[in-house]
């Protein structure tokens, strides 16, 4: 019984947090509930990880929830980044309220929805069958739709609409894939009797995958990868990401970019396990390689002449997702370990960047790269965090993204994807150059003569006070964690290894 409670904790605690926020509203006491719930999810993730490495995968709640090394690792990722995001949101909300862009009611809605968001993601990771994962991911879309459209400005409504429509269509395709997979598994097995137990259950599917009918499975897997690819920001249906992340409030976009994309990618990895068993590695490798290249090309083209730094960060998330797809295409155990490390590293780095960009938006009032000048002289700590985050992003040594990027490159070459990897790293180079020049233009250089930053008409008073402690701490913690990961994996080593063996082909 205690184990099922432990399994349910990551979902229930944030849900309870959401309820308390709803009931008590946004006050000094309730402000820190978010952090507590996130910390609880992280703790549960760690315990579950330790549990699964000892005893192997466990199911509970009548087979609905299942945790193994991979989902435990994802739980840790969710926990870590939601701790960062929720820790920064009280400071962020307080500044928004003083700036008059938000009031207590919207703050309450904000904390409630964030908690629900974390709960939905935890459910998606712990779900045992494809259907529940689909429902959880669709739930995240709907919850974040309200968060994106929170500010009721023209841009927010437009972003919200695009976000919901494109994501729902993508997810519908994924559901079509799920249906076809269910159909294939219904007629799988020697005499076409269908697989035992719940037909969409990951474990059952993975076990019986070799007997699935290749024709149907091909279509199902393709649709699933494109469907979940939409939520992960991969090529065909990626265009919602810059708008949504550009308009969403900073903590939410940190969560979305850091974790939601990776949760969708987690689903793709699960599908890949089944596809490899049923169709052999070649199919998913070519599909993912094509998608990865297309994604990187789009990200590179749009980053070169980018004018808005929040959209710049969003496009760099698309780029990193493309890299993950490349790693998944390589498929070997080394590649998958690198991919998972990249997920965590990118999550941390991107969360720090979005939180600091939110802060920059509050300070300068504008999200245009052109209008932000000499930030380093006016806000040294903030500019420092933002600069270090960007350096981590483009993969400079101390940070873990270098190690994982290196791993992906090596795996790519080893698995015979030589040319694809070379081309994609040329794109990465172009992107690194573009991002560096944009950030350089923002941070360095003399501050504008009139010290009062150009205020965007929509945001009335631009707040000019220094970064509050509660705002700065998560940034620094995130950066140090990312750097520490780059140097030694420590306890994560074993977990990463076992998760990679689960997903990677030998």
């Amino acid at each position: 019984m205690s184990f099922t409670l432990l399994m349910l904790a990551p979902v229930l605690i944030p849900a309870l947090g959401a309820v308390t926020c709803a009931v008590f509203g946004w006050r000094r006491a309730t402000a820190w509930i978010g952090v507590a719930c996130a910390a609880a999810v992280l703790a549960a993730g760690v315990v579950l990880a330790a549990e699964t490495t000892l005893t192997g995968p466990r199911t509970s709640l009548g087979g609905q929830l299942r945790v193994d090394a991979l989902s435990a690792f994802m739980l840790i990722v969710i926990g870590a980044i939601s701790v960062l995001a929720t820790a920064a949101s009280p400071a962020w909300l307080r500044t928004e309220i003083t700036a008059g862009r938000a009031n207590h009611r919207s703050a309450r809605w904000h904390s409630l929805l964030v908690q629900a968001f974390v709960a939905a993601m935890a459910l998606a990771v712990l779900a045992a069958n494809l259907g529940t994962v689909w429902v959880a991911v669709e739930a995240t879309t709907i919850i974040t739709a309200f968060l994106v459209g929170q500010r009721r400005t023209r841009a927010a409504v437009e972003a919200g609409w695009k976000y919901v429509v494109i994501c729902s269509v993508g997810i519908a395709l994924a559901f079509l894939g799920a249906v076809l997979l269910n159909y294939a598994s219904a007629h799988a097995g020697a005499a076409g009797a269908g697989l035992a137990g719940n037909r969409l259950d990951w474990a059952a599917l993975a076990a019986g995958a070799h007997s699935l009918d290749p024709g149907v499975t091909r279509i199902a897997v393709a649709l699933l990868i494109i469907g979940f690819g939409t939520k992960a920001g991969l090529a065909p249906l990626h265009a919602w990401l810059p708008d949504a992340h550009g308009q969403a409030p900073a903590p939410v976009s940190a969560l979305m970019s850091g974790v939601l994309l990776s949760v969708a990618f987690y689903a793709i990895l699960r599908v890949k396990v089944i596809a490899d068993a049923a169709l052999g590695v070649a199919f998913t490798r070519t599909l993912l390689a094509v998608i990865a290249l297309a994604t990187l090309a789009i990200a590179a083209s749009l980053l070169l002449a980018q004018r808005d730094y929040k959209r710049m960060l969003a496009y760099s998330s698309i780029e990193h997702m493309g890299l993950l797809a490349l790693g998944a295409a390589a498929g070997s155990r080394l590649a998958l370990a690198a991919v998972l490390l990249h997920v965590l590293g990118h999550g941390l780095g991107k969360a720090v960047l979005f939180l600091s960009s939110g802060r920059i938006l509050q300070v300068t009032g504008t999200s245009q790269i052109g209008k932000v000048r000499g930030l380093a002289t006016r806000q040294p700590l903030l500019a420092g965090c933002f600069g270090l985050g960007v350096l981590a992003l483009i993969g400079l040594p101390p940070f873990s993204l270098f190690a994982s990027g290196f791993g992906i490159a090596r795996a790519g070459f080893a698995e015979g994807l030589g040319w694809v990897t070379a081309a994609s790293f040329v794109f990465v180079l172009v992107i690194a150059a573009a991002v560096l020049t944009h950030t350089g233009r923002m941070l360095l250089g003399p501050p504008p003569p009139s010290d009062a930053p150009a205020t965007d008409p929509a945001d009335r008073g631009a707040v000019n006070l220094a970064l509050p402690a509660s705002g700065a701490v998560p940034l620094l913690v995130g950066l140090t964690a990312c750097a520490a990961l780059g140097i030694t994996l420590g306890p994560l080593q074993q977990l990463l290894h076992s998760a990679a063996t689960l997903v990677g082909t030998p």
């Binding site: 437009e158 609409w161 695009k162 429509v165 494109i166 269509v169 993508g170 395709l173 024709g215 091909r218 279509i219 393709a222 649709l223 494109i226 939409t230 090529a235 065909p236 249906l237 265009a239 919602w240 810059p242 708008d243 789009i298 590179a300 083209s301 749009l302 980053l303 070169l304 002449a305 980018q306 290196f406 490159a409 090596r410 790519g412 070459f413 080893a414 030589g418 990897t421 070379a422 790293f425 040329v426 990465v428 180079l429 172009v430 690194a432 150059a433 573009a434």
Partner: protein, 518 residues
């Protein structure tokens, strides 16, 4: 630029490691043996591009003349003396050691890149009037010479003449050490000049000999070394390089028959221009009269700086006079690179004798003879003039000091500092000779008075020698990137329909593909 280099190296090495089991040098070495020629060539080219950018070879040299003037002089000394050599180390290690030589066209490419870097670097150095930018470009030139040596060694090794390859490689490595010594000295002295006068522009300096005697002396040693003249240490390595090129002709193949004389011509032209450049740098920079008030007020830099420079100067002199002391070390290094090399290529302590070829030079004797000669002449001169005066007819005692006379000014009154030749005017004949290579830009804009077009208010004349490769290679590249960016932005025009359209066509296409390729 460096990021581009890093990516190139990573791709090259990745490709290499992918084929070898692990990434230790040993496993790479035997993996290198049985790789297919196409893969070996791609690996070599990727690594070459990467390390050439690190060494500041021409197409990828733009960062060098920009980074060095900005960096504090000790850092740029370090960069020029140590960091760029990593590029050479990389090429030699991967090219010779891991891939075991490889076909001849690789090394002809390295030789050509070296030659172009050498000539282009020294031409730009001759033209610029910024001291540290001049030294930056001269680093490109010296690295070009080293690459010529490495390329020549490769060509000889691939043609089987391993003794000659050893000689060329020893010459290249010796030049690396020499360059490290004199470039450090030059940068440090440039730093002390900057410290004293706050100026880097040669046109503003001048007359520092009287105000900063120690720095002037040390810079003179460095300049002498850099211009590869007999007393300097670069002369020895350049002599070795020329010897290896000269003896390279009998090596088989028409390609070498053409490249060897061309390489000798390039080395000669580079040496000639280097002489001109450093005469300009030393003469205009330190001699004659100060051309700006800052140079006027210059005072000698603190002792700590002078000690640093002194050490570097000592190294230069030691290398110039007794190069034999580093020979064994170089022979072992060359042996490590190309395993077929037996004994050291150069023997002899006082007189360097080439192993296997008739050619010898004794820097020690030459230097000693010169110094003795100068002393003898000065003494002889004093003796001659003194004896004359005691002859009896001139009773007064010979004046001990030499009388201070006015400079010849065609009777037009005292010469001002403005009448002196400046760095730009010094380089003007050279620039006119090479103007089709350098394509100097000059623009004249005349501001007329409002009242009438005939009365001129002021004329502004600007003449600039742009870095032609930058203009030809980087501008189009940046323009392409901007155009790609603009075009890329059309991808996201904001309309929902377009975004959904991407998805629709992708899914429909994929389904059709799946249906067709069952």
């Amino acid at each position: 630029m460096t990021h581009f280099g890093v990516v190139a190296i990573v791709i090259g090495l990745m490709l290499f490691i992918a084929h070898a089991s692990s990434d230790t040098f040993a496993s790479l070495r035997q993996a290198g043996a049985e790789l297919s020629p196409a893969v070996r060539s791609t690996i070599f080219l990727a690594v070459l591009v990467g390390f050439a950018s690190k060494a500041g070879a021409v197409p990828l040299h733009a960062w060098l003349p920009r980074a060095h003037p900005e960096a504090p002089s000790q850092v740029s000394a370090l960069m020029s003396a140590a960091m760029v050599n990593l590029g050479v180390y990389g090429i030699v290690r991967v090219g010779f050691d891991l891939l075991g030589g490889g076909p001849r066209w690789w090394w002809l490419l390295v030789l050509v890149v070296g030659a172009v870097s050498a000539v282009y670097g020294i031409l730009q150095a001759a033209m610029t009037s910024d001291l540290k930018r001049l030294l930056g470009y001269s680093t490109t030139e010296n690295l070009g010479l080293v690459l010529i040596g490495v390329g020549a060694a490769g060509v000889f090794a691939s043609a089987g003449a391993h003794v000659l390859a050893g000689l060329a490689l020893t010459a290249a490595l010796l030049h690396v050490i020499n360059h490290a010594a004199f470039k450090t000295l030059l940068f440090l002295s440039a730093g002390s000049v900057l410290h004293a006068t706050g100026l880097r522009d040669l046109d503003g300096l001048g007359g520092l000999r009287a105000r900063m005697p120690v720095t002037t002396g040390l810079f003179a040693v460095g300049a002498l070394a850099a211009s590869a003249l007999p007393l300097g240490n670069a002369f020895v390595s350049e002599w070795l390089l020329l010897q290896s090129l000269v003896h390279g002709l009998p090596v088989s193949g028409v390609a070498t028959a053409i490249t060897m004389p061309a390489a000798v011509a390039v080395v000669a032209l580079t040496a000639g221009l280097a002489v001109a450049t450093f005469v300009k740098a030393f003469g205009i920079g330190f001699l004659a009269r100060p051309r700006s008030s800052a140079a006027e007020r210059a005072t000698e830099s603190p002792v700590s700086m002078r000690v640093g420079m002194g050490l570097a100067a000592l190294a230069c002199v030691a290398l110039a006079v007794v190069p034999a002391m580093v020979m064994p070390g170089l022979a072992r290094a060359a042996g490590a690179a190309d395993s077929m090399l037996g004994e050291p290529a150069v023997r002899g302590a006082v007189t360097l004798r080439l192993a296997g070829f008739a050619g010898s030079l004794s820097p020690l004797l030459v230097t000693a003879a010169l110094l003795v000669g100068v002393a003898a002449v000065v003494a002889g001169l004093r003796l001659a003039t003194v004896r004359r005066t005691r002859h009896g007819r001139l009773t007064h005692r010979a004046r001990p000091t030499r009388r201070d006379a006015r400079l010849w000014d065609c009777g037009a009154g005292p010469l001002t500092a403005r009448m002196e030749y400046t760095a730009t005017s010094f380089a003007e004949p050279l620039q006119r000779v090479f103007d089709d290579v350098l394509e100097p830009e000059q623009d004249v804009d005349v501001t007329h008075l409002q009242e009438s077009r005939y009365l001129v208010d002021s004329i502004e004349y600007r003449r600039r020698v742009p870095d032609r490769i930058e203009r030809r290679l980087y501008q189009p590249l940046l323009a392409f990137a901007r155009a790609w960016g603009q075009a890329g932005r059309q991808l996201a025009t904001g309309s929902v329909h377009r975004y959904l359209g991407y998805g629709f066509y992708a899914v429909a296409g994929l389904l059709v593909v799946l249906a067709v390729t069952r």
